[in-house]
């Protein structure tokens, strides 16, 4: 965790979160969150159900305005930026939503093509070609003209990923990527995420509580605790498992087996 006093943003920082307080109305979910996501990191946001992991993610991508604090993309203050500056950030990020967020009135190819139509000057044939390529990357070639309601849950997850990577983003956000997937597909998704990180240099921020995924892909993390309403641990999940003394973190990372007295 970077120190609260320093106002400098580290050069390798992709995203910096400073003094962030999350809440709805007068209810505070989390306070004083400070962390940095470095370029090329696979950053995991973990914690028990309902502690505000998804809310933190939604704050980071501007779907909810933070109650307090700021989010920086590289050196630009995202929280205090106007619509045009936000668009330039949105050009560089991709988001995979928990329930997919796929546009049900468009075909798979159109879903992937819409970001391209919006941000590039390519002609329709080229866009179609790229969309087909991105669909092939996630193993959905041949399904271009289906509608999202006609494909299975696992395929929808992959479609969401294809759309998220349509613009070759610098940062990918995942909200519960493996929720609702069987272990094998979940593993495939993890491999896909790592492959993308390695080939495109994408930074990944993922909200998840799937332990196998956390250890397989994460190299940095933050642990949110609902009781103390703040982050109680951060760092590489594998190191947290090995060295972290905090009983709550241990309990979580060992599925309750590290619970004192059991």
């Amino acid at each position: 965790m970077n120190s609260e006093s320093s106002n400098e943003i580290a050069a390798e920082a992709q995203i910096t979160v400073r003094n962030l307080t999350l809440g709805y109305g007068s209810v505070v979910l989390m306070r004083d969150l400070n962390f940095t996501v470095k370029r090329g990191d696979v950053f995991i946001i973990m914690g028990g159900s309902g502690c505000g992991k998804s809310t933190l993610l939604r704050n980071m991508i501007g779907l909810i305005e933070p109650a307090e604090g700021e989010v920086f993309y590289e050196k630009a203050n995202f929280t205090r930026s106007n619509a045009e500056e936000r668009r330039s950030v949105y050009r560089r990020i991709g988001v995979l939503y928990q329930s997919g967020g796929l546009w049900s009135s468009m075909t798979l190819a159109e879903n992937v093509a819409l970001p391209l139509e919006e941000y590039t000057e390519l002609d329709p044939a080229e866009i179609r070609e790229i969309a087909t390529f991105k669909l092939a990357l996630v193993g959905l070639n041949g399904f271009e003209d289906y509608y999202p309601s006609e494909i299975s849950g696992g395929m929808r997850k992959r479609l969401g990923l294809a759309r998220a990577i349509a613009l070759d983003p610098e940062v990918l956000f995942f909200d519960e990527p493996s929720a609702g997937l069987d272990p094998i597909n979940s593993r495939r998704l993890d491999d896909l995420i790592l492959a993308l990180r390695d080939s495109l240099g994408t930074t990944v921020v993922a909200v998840t509580h799937e332990l196998p995924s956390i250890f397989a892909i994460g190299n940095n993390s933050i642990f949110l605790d609902a009781e103390s309403k703040t982050a109680i641990a951060s760092g590489d999940p594998k190191e947290l498992l090995a060295y972290c003394e905090n009983p709550k973190v241990r309990e979580f990372l060992t599925r309750g087996e590290g619970r004192p007295g059991e």
Binding site: G100, L114, P115
Partner: protein
């Protein structure tokens, strides 16, 4: 369940219960349930608020919902300014689809309701006017009533129930399935992408539907006039043509467009305000219809007074 009640009662009365006599499975179930009971503190406190507190809550709530409506109206106006400056982004294909949904596909129901409305007006008028031998004025009655007010009003109410609810349900569902979030994080403004085409589509279609409804209403009146009062086609036709003025016609169409804007706005507003569950979508659709009908009737009253004052 019965056992739980007995145990709870015993605890309240400080009677020691002995579970040893119970079967193994039931004892374990009871232990599980007791762990859950510890969370009782998590229950929301549901003290019935006093009368004054309720009045206060209702008034602050309605104040907030009014300010939310105005906020939304302001946002939509800004979006329209963008549209005029050719900088709004939406898909023409979407617009055409919505136009089709709220225009041509509404024709059957508009036909039915307007025709019957005209017939009912004529019937009620005919019974009264026949007493004076003034049956021919049924044509005037129907023509003026339908063209000035009832055509637009009935179209408005049909569209509120049909299209307003559809808008709210569609946007609400898109909110639940995070489709709107996905648009936002691509830098699309949901207002431009979703609300704007809907408002435009209804603005385009309402005058046409309104005109069509006028025609159908007059035909309905004519059916009664010809069938019941033995008037001839030509007499009825001439009487109708003479009764309608161009200002009345345009007044009616203007009202229709106003209702269209109100329906689209309340449908989209309720859809965008929708919470995160299936029941919230239902509530959004209900509240969209209620809001638009209230607004339509209010607007009808206000416009009638305004038209009267400026002498239209």
């Amino acid at each position: 369940m019965f056992l739980m009640k007995v145990m709870n009662y015993c605890r309240q009365q400080e009677i020691v219960t002995d579970r040893e006599g119970l079967p193994d499975g039931i004892r374990r179930l009871l232990e599980l349930a007791e762990i859950v009971q510890e969370q009782e503190a998590a229950k929301p406190t549901t003290d019935a608020p006093s009368f004054l507190a309720r009045v206060g809550t209702v008034s602050t709530d309605s104040f907030f919902s009014l300010s939310e409506m105005l906020h939304f109206l302001g946002d939509v106006t800004l979006t329209f300014v963008k549209l005029v400056r050719m900088r709004a982004r939406y898909r023409t294909a979407d617009l055409l689809l919505i136009v089709q949904e709220c225009g041509p596909q509404a024709l059957p129901i508009v036909t039915l309701i307007s025709f019957l409305m005209g017939a009912i007006l004529a019937f009620v008028g005919a019974v009264q006017l026949r007493q004076f031998g003034a049956q021919i004025y049924v044509a005037d009655l129907v023509a003026i009533a339908v063209v000035r007010d009832m055509g637009a009003m009935m179209t408005g109410i049909i569209m509120a129930g049909r299209t307003g609810a559809a808008f709210a349900a569609k946007l609400g569902t898109m909110k639940v399935t995070q489709e709107i979030d996905a648009l936002s994080t691509l830098g699309f403004s949901p207002l431009e992408f979703l609300v704007l085409p809907r408002v435009i589509a209804l603005c385009l279609m309402m005058p046409l539907l309104c005109l069509y409804s006028d025609l159908m209403g007059i035909l309905g009146g004519a059916a009664v006039g010809l069938g019941m009062l033995d008037l001839s086609w030509t007499t009825y036709y001439h009487q109708t043509i003479n009764a309608i003025t161009l200002t009345a016609l345009f007044g009616g169409i203007f009202k229709g467009v106003t209702y269209g804007v109100l329906i689209a706005l309340s449908g989209c507003l309720r859809g965008m305000q929708c919470g995160g569950s299936a029941s919230a979508v239902g509530e959004a659709a209900t509240s969209a219809v209620v809001t638009s009908i209230v607004l339509i009737v209010t607007a009808c009253g206000v416009l009638s007074v305004v038209f009267y004052i400026i002498g239209v």
